[in-house]
C-alpha cells in the first residue's frame, strides 16, 4: 500500500502533503493533551511494531504481495491521534531509509495508513465494542473487525488515489502519464488482496495485540474505560 513516486501526479501528491500538515498539527496537540508520559514507551514500541509488521509481506496468488499495518491496534491502545503520529513516523522512515513508498507520496501514504486507517478502525472498534470490556469476547471481536475494516478502507482510498490518475492524466493520444490502470482495476485488485489475505491478518494482529496487552498490562486498556464511565469523556481521542 506504499505508493511509490511517479504513480501519483504532482497535482495529486502535493495536496496530500499539504493536507497532512494540519492533520499532524491536530495529532500533536491531541497527543500532548491526552498521552501520559508513561505511555510514551507504548507509543514507541507500537510505532516500531507497525514498522515491523509492514515488513511481513504476505504472498498473494498470481505473484503479488500485501501486508498488515498495525495502525488500528495502536489506535485502540493509545487513541487514533497517537496512532497517526506513530504510523506516520514509521512510514517516513520507510520512505527515507528503505525507499519503501515515495517521498512526494509520503502525504498520500500517511493519509491512507496513518490517518484514515486508525480513525476508521477506532470508530468501528468503539461502535462494535460498546460498553463491553476490552478483553471480553465482544471486545476482542470488535478489535478484529476494526482491524479488518480499517485496513480495507485504507486500501480503497489508496486504489481510488492511484486509479483516478489513469482517467485524469493522459497524453494527447490517451497514454496514461502516471498510474496506468483504470480505477475499477485498481479497486478490484487492492480490495481482493486486502479483503482476502491482508485483512484477516490485520484482524488477527489487532485482536491478538489487544488481548496480549490487555492481559499483560490491564491498565493500558482499563484507564480509558474509567474515563468513559466518569461522565462520558470521549476517551483518549
Amino acid at each position: 500500500m506504499h505508493i511509490p513516486d511517479g504513480y501519483l501526479s504532482p497535482q495529486t501528491a502535493v495536496p496530500f502533503v499539504v493536507a497532512m500538515v494540519p492533520i499532524w498539527g491536530v495529532a500533536v496537540k491531541k497527543v500532548k493533551e491526552n498521552l501520559r508520559k508513561r505511555e510514551v514507551p507504548v507509543l514507541a514500541v507500537g510505532a516500531a511494531f507497525s514498522f515491523i509488521i509492514m515488513m511481513f509481506n504476505l504472498p498473494i496468488p498470481g505473484g503479488s504481495s500485501a501486508h498488515a499495518v498495525g495502525a488500528v491496534l495502536l489506535a485502540i491502545l493509545l487513541g487514533p491521534w497517537a496512532a497517526c503520529i506513530g504510523v506516520s513516523v514509521a512510514l517516513i522512515i520507510q520512505a527515507l531509509i528503505f525507499g519503501d513508498g515515495g517521498i512526494l507520496a509520503i502525504g498520500a501514504n500517511c493519509f491512507n495508513m496513518a490517518f484514515i486507517m486508525p480513525m476508521v478502525g477506532y470508530l468501528m472498534y468503539k461502535l462494535i465494542k460498546g460498553q463491553a470490556d476490552a478483553i471480553s469476547t465482544r471486545g476482542i471481536i470488535a478489535a478484529a473487525l476494526a482491524g479488518y475494516i480499517g485496513l480495507n478502507v485504507a486500501a480503497l482510498f489508496t486504489a481510488v488515489e492511484f486509479g483516478s490518475q489513469y482517467h485524469l492524466f493522459q497524453t494527447a493520444d490517451g497514454t496514461p502519464l502516471y498510474f496506468m490502470y483504470p480505477i475499477k482495476v485498481a479497486i478490484a485488485a487492492m480490495l481482493s488482496e486486502h479483503l482476502t489475505l491482508a485483512g484477516p491478518v490485520e484482524a488477527l494482529v489487532t485482536a491478538l495485540g489487544v488481548w496480549f496487552v490487555g492481559n499483560s498490562y490491564p491498565e493500558l486498556v482499563a484507564r480509558k474505560q474509567a474515563i468513559m464511565f466518569n461522565g462520558g469523556v470521549a476517551d483518549n481521542v
Binding site: H2, P4, D5, G6, Y7, P10, V28, K32, L35, R36, K37, R38, V40, P41, L43, A44, V45, A47, A48, F49, F51, I52, I53, M55, F56, N57, L58, P59, I60, G62, G63, S64, S65, A66, H67, I85, V89, I93, L96, I97, F98, G99, D100, G102, L104, A159, F162, T171, T175, P176, L177, Y178, F179, M180, A186, A189, E193, F212, V213, Y217
Partner: protein
C-alpha cells in the same frame, strides 16, 4: 523506557528475528512496481511516472537490504533483520524525541 513494558519489547524483538519470513513473498505489491517490473507487468513506463520515479535515490538500505549483500537468501535475510533493527531504533528514537513535548 524498557523496564515498564518489558513484554512488549520482547515481542517486538521476536518479530525482528522472524522478519525474514516477509521475504518469502517475492511478488511486488499491486501498484508498487519498479521500472524494470513495469516493463514486464504493463509493457511500458508512463512518461510522467518515469520522470518522478527516481525522486529519492538516497535510501541507504533500499528494499530493506544491505547494498551488495543480497546474493543469497541468507544474506538477504541478514540484511532484512539489520533493516528491521535500524528501522526500530530510528522509530523509537524519533518518538522519544517527539515525546519531549508531552507533559505528564
Amino acid at each position: 523506557m524498557f523496564k515498564t513494558y518489558k513484554k512488549l519489547w520482547l515481542v517486538l524483538s521476536l518479530f525482528i528475528v522472524l522478519s525474514p519470513l516477509g521475504l518469502l513473498a517475492t511478488g511486488t505489491a499491486f501498484g508498487e512496481w519498479g521500472s524494470d517490473e513495469l516493463i514486464d507487468e504493463v509493457g511500458f513506463i508512463p512518461a510522467g511516472l518515469e520522470k518522478m520515479a527516481d525522486l529519492w535515490q538516497h535510501a541507504p538500505m533500499p528494499d530493506y537490504s544491505i547494498q551488495g549483500f543480497a546474493a543469497t537468501f541468507g544474506q538477504s535475510a541478514l540484511g532484512y533483520i539489520a533493516s528491521a533493527v535500524v528501522g526500530v531504533l530510528l522509530v523509537v528514537l524519533i518518538i522519544t524525541f517527539l515525546s519531549r513535548i508531552v507533559k505528564d
